[in-house]
Structures are given as C-alpha cells and as structure tokens.
C-alpha cells in the first residue's frame, strides 16, 4: 500500500510541486490549505507523515504540531518554513518535530528527507 502524506501549506504553487514530486516518488498525497482543515482531515484519516508550514491561516503551525504531538505522537512531522530564526527552529525541535526545512528549499533534498523520515519510523 502507498504511504500517505498530509501537506499543510497555503501557497498553491508549492503545493502543486510537492504533490507532483511526491506522487512521482510513489506516495499518496493529501493537501490542506490551512490548519483548521488539517485538523479535520487528521481526525478521519491516518497518515505516515505530515509536512507543514508554520505561518498558516486560522490555526498556525505551532498549534497544529502541538495538537499532533499530543494526540498522534507516533506521526512524524517535517516543518517547511520561511523562518530562519533559530529560536523558532529550536522550539519546533523541542516540540518533537522530526525535521526542519527552510524556504527556499530544494525539492530533491526534501524528497530524500521525506524518505528518510518515513523509513526511520
């Protein structure tokens, strides 16, 4: 069975490319444009990985990660964010995030890290 990945990101171009690339890599991809929708999807569906932005409409990434780590602790999370502030990156890792990728990013590298994260779990 294909591994399922949830992408939470509000930039449609990034979403399109990630979807394209990860589908090519053989994953099944589900997209949520904002934190609120993501929570709803997570309630009904099971995933092997979540890739999320931090700046999101309605419910921001940090809140979302907190929710995931409290309720589905085994689900790995990769953050994809423009933030270069060390404080924020440190906070994210403290919350149990598995990987942190800053934008602009290399899709090939992201694909490798996705593979590694899923395999390690």
């Amino acid at each position: 069975m294909k591994k399922k990945i949830l992408i939470i990101e509000d930039n449609p171009m990034i979403v399109k490319s990630l979807e394209f690339k990860l589908t090519k890599d053989g994953y099944q991809v589900v997209v949520a444009q904002d934190g609120r929708k993501a929570l709803k999807i997570l309630e009904t569906d099971a995933f092997q990985l979540v890739i999320t932005d931090l700046m999101l409409p309605f419910i921001n990434g940090i809140e979302l990660i907190e929710h995931i780590k409290n309720n589905i602790p085994e689900l790995p999370v990769i953050v994809l964010s423009t933030s270069k502030q060390e404080e924020i990156i440190m906070d994210a890792f403290k919350m149990g995030v598995n990987d942190f990728i800053t934008k602009p990013f290399s899709p090939n590298e992201l694909s490798l890290r996705v593979k590694r994260t899923i395999e390690n779990n």
């Binding site: 490319s17 690339k21 290399s106 090939n108």
Partner: protein
C-alpha cells in the same frame, strides 16, 4: 415627427440648451455604462484564461523539473508554439517561473533559470525593456534581477529613470546580480537618493546581495550627502571597525544630520574616545545632535558626565530634556 420639430423650434433658448445637455449626458451615461459592462466581461474572461494558462504552465514546469521521463526537447517546442503564442500566455508563464524561482533552491532553481532561456522568454523581457511602458519596464528589470540575467548595459540607463519605481528596480538589479563591489553604480548617480531608495539599497545589500561585503569607506567622499550618511551608517551596521578613523572627521561636518549619524555610528562601534570629542560642543549643538550625545553617554559614559550636561539644556528644549531624563533613569536602574 414634423410636429415634434415644430414644438422644439418654438422653445425658448434655455429649454433648448437644457435639452441639449440632457441628451449629451445621457449619451455619456450610456457610453460609460457600456464600457463598464464591457470591462467587466473582458476582465472576467481574462481571469478565466489566466487560470487555464497558469495550469498549462504549471503542468509543463513541474514536468520539466521533476519528471525524468519528460521529452524536454520536443515538449519545449510544443509548449512554445501552443502555449506561448500570445503576450498574456508569456506573462503568465513568466509569473509562474518567478514563483518557482523564489521558492526553490538547488537543482530545481538552476533548472527554472534554464527553462526561462530555453523558452526564449528572455527575448520577450528584453523587448519589454526596450519598448514597454514604465511600469512594464520596472517589472522587466525585476524579472532580470530575480533570474540573475546578466545584461548590465541594458539596465544601467534606468538608474536615473524618471519614475522612482524603475530606479528602485534598477538599483535592486545591480545589487542582486553583483558578485563583488555591489555599490559601484553609486558613481553613476546624479541626484540625492530618497530615504526610500536608501532603505531599499540597505535591504538589498543585507538580503539580496550574496557576494563579499564591500568597504563602505570608499564612498565617504561622494559628492552626494545622502550617500555619505549612508556609508557612515553602513560602516556601523557591518561593524567595519577598521574605518573608524575615516569617519571621525565627520563629527565636525557642517550638516547636523551627518554629525548625528557619525556620533551614533561611533558609539555603536564602542569608540571609547567619542565622548571627550563631543561633550565639549554639547552646549552649542542642534537639538537632534544633543539627544544623540546623551545617548552616546548612555552607551559609553558615566552618570557624572551626564549630569554635567543638565544645566546646559534649555528649558524650551523639551525633547532633549526628555531624552536626558530617560537616560538618567536608566543609569539609576542599572
């Protein structure tokens, strides 16, 4: 019909005039309403087209970047003939290329710059730069900057363009594409820069320019005063301690804003001998400089040095007094 003409002919002039105006206004109203409706339909249609063009462009670009089985050579030819045959299609594809370029780095970012040239969109941009309106030109220069297209001779005339938006983009272009000496375009400038442009340059050096940090002291004797102030500020922001001796003479410059910026730069660079140079002239200084001297004492001095100044602040000068009191309070707390 005849009888109507008869009636109108019998009207006094004022009625005729009014009738003329009513007809005139009505015609205009109908014309305006027609253009309103036409514009709306045109814009709606354009929006719909834009969406489909965008989908085509995305499909092509994603395949180009991520699909190893993509027959690049043939696909480029097909895309060019089918999906790049109108200016709007080119513009939309260009916009998508810029978005991908902005978000990706590594291999994909190299590919996106390559596809820009393979699709011959660079020629399209050069044409806009030659013939377009000023806002299209500004946009074109922006595209060249983002995609790092090296055509400095094409862009350089726009450094002194009439429209500030074009000038801004030209400045940005030189900073973004420079690999060393990013401020060399300063020598081509003829008029004082506005604050906005200076902010723009500063930001571009910090965030867009990727080469080695330039030595700002070479611009300290530039004929434009704004560039001198800018250089002093940059020497401080980039901690160029080696340039401290070169900016000290500006403590005695005739322009108070130059003096103020110099004092600020020197105390931020922890230049210990600053206070003995500026405190003696405090009494006769301008208001803006006075406050800066007080702040310098906060950074480098002692409370007794501050208190010596108290009697020198005039009762009228409330702002300096307030700065004084604030700094005094900070001394007490620490």
């Amino acid at each position: 019909m005849n009888s109507l003409e008869h009636i109108v002919n019998d009207w006094p002039w004022i009625l005729k005039l009014n009738a003329l105006f009513i007809v005139l206004f009505l015609v205009f109203i109908i014309m305006v309403i027609c253009s309103l409706v036409y514009l709306r339909i045109y814009k709606n249609q354009r929006e719909r087209h834009k969406i489909s063009y965008q989908e085509n462009a995305d499909e092509f670009l994603n395949n180009y970047m991520f699909n190893d089985d993509f027959d690049i050579k043939n696909e480029i030819e097909t895309f060019k003939s089918k999906h790049l045959n109108t200016p709007l299609k080119k513009k939309i594809t260009l916009r998508q290329i810029l978005i991908y370029n902005e978000n990706f780095k590594g291999e994909s970012s190299v590919l996106i710059k390559k596809v820009f040239q393979e699709l011959e969109l660079d020629q399209f941009v050069f044409n806009i730069l030659k013939k377009g309106s000023w806002y299209a030109k500004a946009r074109a220069i922006y595209v060249l900057s983002e995609l790092l297209v090296k055509e400095p001779r094409l862009v350089s005339p726009y450094l002194n363009a009439k429209h500030e938006e074009v000038r801004e983009q030209a400045i940005y272009y030189f900073l973004k594409t420079a690999t060393n000496n990013p401020l060399s375009f300063f020598k081509n400038l003829k008029t004082e820069l506005t604050l906005w442009e200076l902010v723009y340059i500063e930001d571009s050096i910090k965030y867009a320019y990727t080469g080695e940090t330039p030595d700002f002291s070479i611009w300290l004797d530039h004929h434009l005063i704004t560039i001198r102030i800018f250089s002093i500020k940059m020497i401080q922001q980039f901690n160029q301690f080696e340039n401290i001796p070169k900016i000290i003479p500006f403590l005695y410059h005739e322009n108070p804003h130059v003096r103020k910026e110099t004092i600020r730069a020197l105390y931020k660079l922890h230049y210990e001998a600053l206070l003995e140079k500026v405190i003696p002239s405090f009494k006769d200084e301008e208001e803006v400089v006075k406050s800066e001297i007080i702040k310098a004492i906060q950074a480098l001095g002692r409370i007794d040095q501050l208190k010596e100044l108290k009697s020198l602040i005039s009762n009228q000068d409330k702002r300096t007094e307030l700065t004084y009191l604030q700094v005094e309070k900070n001394f007490m707390i620490n």
